[in-house]
Amino acid sequence: MRKPSDEILVAYLDGELDPGVRLEVEACIDSDAETRERVTALALGARLLRSAFDPVLHEAVPERLIAAARGEGAAAVTDLAAARKKRLGWLGGKPLVEWAAAAGIAGLLIGGGIGYFSADQNTANPQTASLASANWLDSIAGYHKLFVSAGADDLALVDMPATDGAGARKVVQKLPSDFRLPNLQPWGLQFQGARYLFIEGEPGTQLFYTTDNKALGPLTVVVAATNKPDLAPTFDRRDKLNVLYWRHHGHAYVLVGTADIGYLWNISNDIAYQLDAI
């Protein structure tokens, strides 16, 4: 048999060949190293592809889809583009003057955020507490709660909205040159905006993401400079929020959200890779 075509090799791997042709392909694979290598590479690609998407099967199905399957959905999704615009659009269109006001409010909250949670709500473990001086984590978590509760009605907590690509670029321009805005779209998280803050005298940015995946929920990502030593990822709690915190090579990173620690851990890995933060 001549060297089998890619179509034949793929069909062989998919179990779609007639027995006679299959035997011929197997004979060719046995006798020809190049064909063997080709089949191996194609098989690997297929295995990777399955591995890349199989985790979706183990995700919690969003309630809205179950409701839709039961015929209980609220608004029908007849236009995917419109649905996407609606999903992303609630931060859009804010006049600059409102941003000025927002900055003022944010300034107040930077001070007021400390102690936003009462002491008995904090369950910081000793390691994190000692390294984080506790209060700024409270502040970040407090801002996260305020951001979430503000919802579609108010975005006063955001210094820089991400209403479009330009917004995201401006955020990046205001950050250290080696900073990359984490792309969490594979998680269904859409970047909505950022606020700037100082943590223990060092500049940082609190990035807000939203999703309609209720199992994940809105997420805050903080990236800040630090002069403290590296710290392995550490879980913590603030009120009903999960916090994941680590430091690497002069930067502190914090994730805050209602997502369970498994989600946070996986997202932190993603961010760590994207920002060279491991």
Binding site: G45, A46, V56, H58, E59, V61, G71, P186, D212, N213
Partner: protein, 175 residues
């Protein structure tokens, strides 16, 4: 609507989400697509033929909606940020690299033409036979076969290119 129809719909949701994720490349857009497919299916229960595969029918609906949207609105998956080339050097590296490889696969899939993407998701990921995938895509089996071959080869080439680029960067960083 019979309860069994709704039950079947709920049962197929995880696979439908996976299929949609592969088509759209976005979790949120995939769920929008799945929701739209559910809603359309519920308005067309009379079109489902008992004795045929319910999952294939739902895949077909989802794919039809997606293709319609692509055609009518020229929606294109936003090009995600090019995956970074920074790689750490400590213990979590292997785990990160494994996950990175899967991200690269998803990104590579997103670069393929829509019909090839769908064929891969149906056959390679979901395990449908060529005949079943051809029924979903409403094309001849031979078309599915050629789409799959082109898709698998293209995917392989993209993965090799990405792997090569990453290795080169790592080597450069190591120097």
């Amino acid at each position: 609507m019979s309860p069994s129809f709704s039950d079947q719909l709920i049962a197929v949701l995880p696979r439908l989400r996976r299929f949609a994720r592969g088509l759209t490349g976005s979790a949120a857009e995939a769920d929008d697509l799945v929701q739209a497919a559910c809603e359309r299916a519920l308005t067309r229960t009379h079109q489902f033929q008992e004795g045929t595969r319910f999952d294939s029918w739902m895949f077909r609906i989802a794919q039809t909606i997606w293709i319609d949207q692509l055609r009518s609105r020229n929606i294109r998956k936003e090009t995600s940020e090019d995956e970074g080339t920074h790689v750490g050097t400590d213990e979590p590296l292997r785990r990160v690299e494994a996950r990175l490889a899967l991200q690269e696969v998803r990104a590579a899939l997103g670069e393929l033409p829509p019909e090839q993407r769908a064929a891969l998701m149906l056959v390679t990921v979901d395990g449908l036979s060529y005949k079943e995938a051809a029924d979903v895509a409403e094309v001849p089996v031979g078309t599915i076969m050629s789409r799959l071959a082109r898709a698998r080869v293209a995917l392989q080439a993209r993965l090799e290119a990405r792997g090569h680029a990453r290795r080169s960067t790592n080597d450069a960083k190591a120097e």
